[in-house]
Amino acid sequence: MTNISTKTLTIALLGNPNCGKSTVFNQLTGLRQKIGNFPGVTVDKKLGKLALENGQSATLIDLPGTYNLYPTSQDERVVLNILANPSDDYYPDAIIYIADVTQIEKHFLLFTQVRDLGIPMVLALNMADAAAEQKIQYQPAVIEKLFQVPTVSISGRTGDNFPQLKSALNELITKPFDAPKSFYNFSDAEQTISKKIQKDYQLDNQFQALIWAQNANRLTFLSAEKKATISDIVKNNDFNGLANQVREVMQRFDRFTPMLKKAVQRTESNKITLTEKIDDVLTHRVWGPLIFFALMLLTFQAIYAWSSVPSDMIEAGFGSLSDIVTASLPDTWYRSLLTDGILAGLGGILVFIPQIAILFFLISILEEVGYMARAVFMFDNLMQRFGMNGRSIVALVSSGACAIPAVMSTRTISNWKERLITILVAPFISCSARIPVYTVLIGFVVPSATIWGIFNQQGIAFMGLYIVSIIAALGSAWVFKKILKTEERSFLLLELPEYRTPVFKNVLLTVFEKVKTFVVEAGKIIFVISIVLWFLASYGPSNKMELAEKDAISIATQNNLSDDATADLVAGKQIEASYAGHLGKFIEPAIRPLGYDWKIGIALITSFAAREVFIGTMATIYSIGSTEDEGTIRERMAKEVNPTTGKPTYNFATSLSLLVFYIFAMMCMSTLAVVKRETGGWKWPIIQFFFMTGLAYLGAFVVYQIFS
């Protein structure tokens, strides 16, 4: 620790889940946070800047919560791989260990393990405020003396004693560090093995060697050869890893529990706590699920209803910005790029912000309060049948408004397979963007009449579309459950934390971080695809676009059309002549079995941007681009006649086939962009695109062939 001034220090926050780590992290760093992924996995990596007392700044890393150094989930493996590898980029120069003082014993297992790794450490006894309420008395100085680790009592929620925490940290990193003697007494077998590994790989720390022996195959930084050699050492010495882990955990508890009794005085009471009383209702056999669904309905309603005003404002804002640009620039390719490419792309990204913000505002309140763990408990069994997790329900319900925040909300599902399945099937649930498409098409399928004088047939059909989408989601989840293999053993050992009032700083930071991640990470992809789609719709091979324009203008002059009608006609003829038009004609043979012509083909291509674009494209193709009214568009579509049969194009079979196609098809580049970010690569979004669109094609094909 002599050259501290020449290098940025890395300080890690570590602790069990529910120790209040994120609150402490937010207190220490505020908005100076950077959120990303740990390499190779989609586990949140939160970095922040921490100003030290001597004016130096350090990188503060928030390590995922873990109970011990024998991981069973992705999050925990990340922690192990950093702490067991002194050459890791994030190997901490010092650790702030956060322990919930109201449940102190449980938090001391990992504490003593990390202490034995010989990393300089400050112990922060968190939740001082809750301890005072529960009349728990404790002496940090006694703990400090017994465990030989500097100890401070803090409260993350109130920010109490943070200066003391910082000065303890400062003292730790400025003074030479002497690792205290190992807390754990190695057994003979552990001695033999750890000494051998220590010698073979020149490790400074004996407990680190034991951790290598116990976890050899989970350590990503070891070469395959090293892993094999270490496994051999373990095997040759007849070392039963699991039995030793149990023994180690037992021994640690046996040692520190009496030590902690000297420092913490608690009056044990058998009184039923407030949390238990609340849970009598919230996890009740009948009331529990009912209340949950009421909350989900509220969440759904909030995303759906509250976001429409700000989203409409964003759309209108970009609309008028686009009008201003159109009015002030000459009619050139760059004006078109600016309005129909760049501004449309940006608007298409920003329009999702209200939905994302509202969903995460509500979800993180439920998470902060401690309710989410109860939801997992209640629905675990139900969702397990479909290979998902209790938390998946939240994603599936939110998907009814928009799949983007829904996919982003799966981050808290720690089992990778359960999380992946949720991400893959959530976009099946009919989102709000499908509604305009359904509205236009449903009239061609179901007459607007009532059954028994009360039920509107179209309303029933609408509900049917939603039910089909839910069946598709659960059915494909079940299939994925059977196909996907995982080495992670699925279990549920979940703490149901005490109910707490939410810390609003945490809630707002979560909202901010989610919005920022979406705009920055997914926004890039959405933007690029928007420009590509703009190009396809605005340019055509050779001079076909100009010919189309001339053609349209001459027709317009002959028929004495108004300016608007002329512009609409030009747009219609041009999109036909564009690359998108050619693509539409090119795919016509493939979509004819579904009952579609090339015009619908064009709309299928452009609506890859987002489903509702289908309506706008249809309007442009039918030369009524200046209208935005769904009723007008439907009237025009009803008049469209198939030139070969002489019958309406939008007959029952074609319209139903289109409806089915739009229920299933992955027509949303923004969702794909988010899936790419959340799964860490292109593999899963591509698979998702093909299986959803494949199912859509198949469904539409079957429906059309039956009814035509």
Partner: protein, 72 residues
């Protein structure tokens, strides 16, 4: 010896040992140890899991894990 699965709602017992080492390691790391008093608070609405209280902390565990917890 009975396991936690045998308890009815609101019944308590004391943990004797665990029948599976991997589960034992997880449970113990969360502070559920031999000698701890456990109480079954209630079963999940759709089955499959139980809500337990051990040493003043609440947990949810699946029936499979509950069956590994041997009571005195």
């Amino acid at each position: 010896m009975p396991t936690l699965s045998a308890l009815k709602n609101r019944e308590s017992g004391t943990i004797h040992s665990f029948s599976d080492e991997a589960t034992a390691c997880k449970l113990m790391s969360m502070g559920i140890l031999p000698g701890s008093k456990v109480k079954l608070i209630r079963k999940a609405p759709f089955g499959g899991a139980v809500y337990i209280k051990a040493d003043n902390q609440q947990f949810a565990i699946r029936n499979a894990e509950a069956a590994c917890i041997i009571l005195v």
